[in-house]
């Protein structure tokens, strides 16, 4: 892994471009997907089929004035949205897009990802607390308890995966699943793992939905109760950064799920692995995120915590034990 | 013995003197003034079965009887009889489910100092209705838990539904 400056520059620009494009055009996909589900057209005026809509939204957000409420800690108020974006982008450093396209393959890349995920939660807490608005304080309190509750089952399922593939390096985990979908961790036909792995996939998927405050778990920015949750006081780019941070968290969640369970950049028939398969899987997962958001109502905070503490954690622990036993047996 | 007779007898206890009369439908002018008592009305014509006129201090007693008979308070309305210089507070009780019977209870208070005891202790529904009647007519309900305006802005100093109210 020669560390020439060009390689670093190329990956810097590449990841920033990937993050920027994704953050903008996921908004467009969400609005188009929601429209199609609701049997309407969605954005279609700006550019062909609304393709310039993200540009229009971006310009609008940038032209608005960022108001800082009076008597509020200005620094934290301004830092919070940036803090929402930074962990999402930095965690793209360790994601193995394909065999040779990976910024930095680190030994403990899984650990780095989860550290950055909890940093994202910190941003929501700061954003809510710094804006001094009652709705924002309630929403940030909810967001913290929700993210905390859903990180534990996520970590336990990741331990199961690490146990199976033997290494914390995302690249190794992905390489371990090469050669056709029956090698993917979700199916894992050899040595009897197929019994429990689909359960851990479902648990992991639910946790990633909850981790990014999306769909049935969007207690943090519950429009109809807390107006806009922690984003209430944020004007132009503050709100813009929070939204982009949310979409990037979805992308990172999808990449993580693909790498851990769906065999990274491996082709389902084992022939031509490549970055296209990786992108296809990510966008399939992101579509399910959107699909879920526009189907279900929102859960209530107690049900949400009950779901995690009473159902997901016991299941993931049981799953861990069963997988450990299976590894011992086979 | 259906609910109408039962309520009518229960209410009649309040007015020992007044006999129960069947009021013929009178043509001109507002209904003739009469002393307190229970009057049976024909329902299809005017929508209520019993018309009770009582003194202001009997209002709580009537409400308690209605409560024991299982009625609910439908609404409280005020009426401003300007030429007789009287304000009238009109309570509507109705049956919630079961056999239908609507009782209209009316009290007359002088316009100068309109004071009526509150029945919000018996029917919490009256809390808001009485605040509204105070808001529009200025009828003061004694020991009402929080007699402030409900629909008009707090700083309004007029009572709009009085007949002599000029905006």
């Amino acid at each position: 892994m020669e560390t020439s400056i060009w390689r670093a520059l190329f990956y810097l620009v590449g990841i920033m471009a990937f993050a920027g494009l994704n953050a903008a055009y996921l908004g467009w996909c969400e609005r188009k997907g929601a429209a199609r589900i609701q049997r309407r057209i969605g954005p279609c005026e700006a550019g062909f089929a609304g393709l310039l809509q993200p540009l229009a939204d971006g310009l609008k957000l940038m032209s608005k004035q960022l108001l800082v409420p009076q008597g509020v800690d200005g620094i934290i108020f301004r830092v919070a949205p940036v803090l929402a974006m930074v962990p999402a982008i930095t965690s793209m450093v360790v994601i193995p897009f394909s065999g040779n396209i990976e910024a930095r393959a680190m030994e403990l890349s899984v650990l780095l990802l989860f550290a950055l995920a909890s940093l994202g939660m910190m941003a929501i807490l700061l954003g809510g607390w710094a804006s001094g608005n009652k709705y924002a304080i309630i929403s940030s309190a909810r967001a913290v308890s929700q993210n905390l509750a859903y990180e534990i089952p996520m970590l336990v399922t990741v331990i199961t995966i690490v146990m199976i593939s033997g290494s914390m390096n995302l690249r190794e985990i992905a390489l371990n699943q090469m050669g056709g979908f029956w090698h993917w961790n979700i199916f894992r036909l050899e040595n009897g793992h197929f019994l429990t792995m689909w359960i851990s996939f479902i648990i992991f998927f639910i946790c990633s939905v909850a981790e990014t405050n999306r769909a049935p778990f969007d207690m943090a920015e519950a429009e109809s109760e807390l107006v806009a949750g922690f984003m209430t006081e944020y004007g132009s780019m503050g709100f813009g950064l929070f939204m982009m941070g949310e979409y990037l968290n979805i992308v990172v969640g999808a990449c993580l799920t693909t790498t851990l369970f769906l065999g990274g950049w491996d082709c389902p028939f084992g022939k031509t692995p490549g970055v296209w398969w990786f992108l296809l899987k990510i966008y399939m997962l992101i579509f399910t995120f959107i699909w879920i958001r526009w189907t279900y109502p929102r859960t209530q905070i107690y049900r949400l915590l009950n779901l995690s503490w009473k159902i997901l954690i016991p299941f993931s622990l049981a799953n861990l034990l069963i997988t450990a036993a299976l590894i011992k047996v086979f | 013995m259906d609910i109408r007779e039962k309520t009518q007898i229960a209410l009649a206890l309040l007015f020992p003197a007044a006999p129960v009369t069947e009021v013929p439908v009178v043509a001109e002018g507002p209904p003739p003034p009469r002393d307190a008592g229970v009057v049976i009305q024909d329902f299809p014509r005017c929508g209520s079965h019993l018309d009770v006129l009582c003194r202001p201090d009997q209002v709580v007693a009537v409400a308690q009887i209605m409560d024991t008979e299982g009625f609910f308070l439908e609404s409280i309305a005020g009426v401003d009889w300007l030429e007789k210089q009287q304000l009238e507070v009109l309570y509507d009780y109705n049956r919630l489910g079961g056999e239908h019977c609507r009782v209209m209870v009316r009290t007359l208070v002088p316009r100068t100092e309109p004071v009526v005891p509150t029945i919000s202790a018996v029917f919490p529904a009256a809390n808001w209705h009485e605040r509204e009647t105070f808001d529009f007519y200025g009828v003061h309900f004694q020991d009402h838990p929080n007699l402030i305006r409900i629909l008009l802005p707090e700083d309004a100093d007029f009572h709009p539904l009085l007949k002599d109210f000029m905006p």
């Binding site: 997907g33 049997r39 057209i41 279900y296 | -």
Partner: protein
């Protein structure tokens, strides 16, 4: 504990059926009407703001300035006046101005109902948005003349 398992089972089944329904909807054609390009057609009895009816031949309004509609209107939006009809043997009045203040009109139809000379009807006008309040003070006589002119 039994509630625990049944909850999970029925719950996930209901979640999946919910997803299938919206999934099926995803591929169905669009239902909405694209307004600026597809213009809706109003039903015959649609109540836009009122307008004068001119008789086919001469194009003059049928109105005889009796003022019934002015009195019937609950919010006094109609103001009209006319002058004696001079000329040979023409009796009655001729309408000179008929102004409708549409800001106060609640489209109750009392005016059209009270007019016995078939001089008023509801127009099919539905896009009535404008920035200026005076656009709603409409001179219906001029509107009738425009309609006659564009009919020729």
């Amino acid at each position: 504990m039994s509630g625990y398992w049944s909850d999970i089972f029925t719950g996930s089944k209901s979640l999946v059926t919910g997803l299938l329904i919206t999934g099926r909807e995803f591929f169905k054609p669009v239902v909405t009407e694209q307004y600026p390009y597809e213009v809706p057609t109003m039903t015959p009895l649609f109540r836009g703001h009122i307008e004068l009816i001119g008789n086919e031949a001469t194009g003059q309004p049928n109105c005889v300035v009796c003022g019934m509609c002015q009195r019937a209107c609950p919010s006094t939006c109609i103001s009209l006046d006319g002058k004696k009809a001079e000329g040979e043997g023409a009796k009655g009045k001729v309408l000179t101005s008929y102004v409708l203040d549409f800001t106060k009109c609640s489209l109750c139809g009392s005016c059209v109902e009270s007019c016995n000379f078939n001089a008023l009807r509801f127009s099919k006008e539905y896009n009535l948005a404008s920035f200026d309040k005076n656009d709603f003070i409409m001179d219906l006589l001029k509107r009738l003349e425009d309609q006659n002119r564009c009919k020729q």
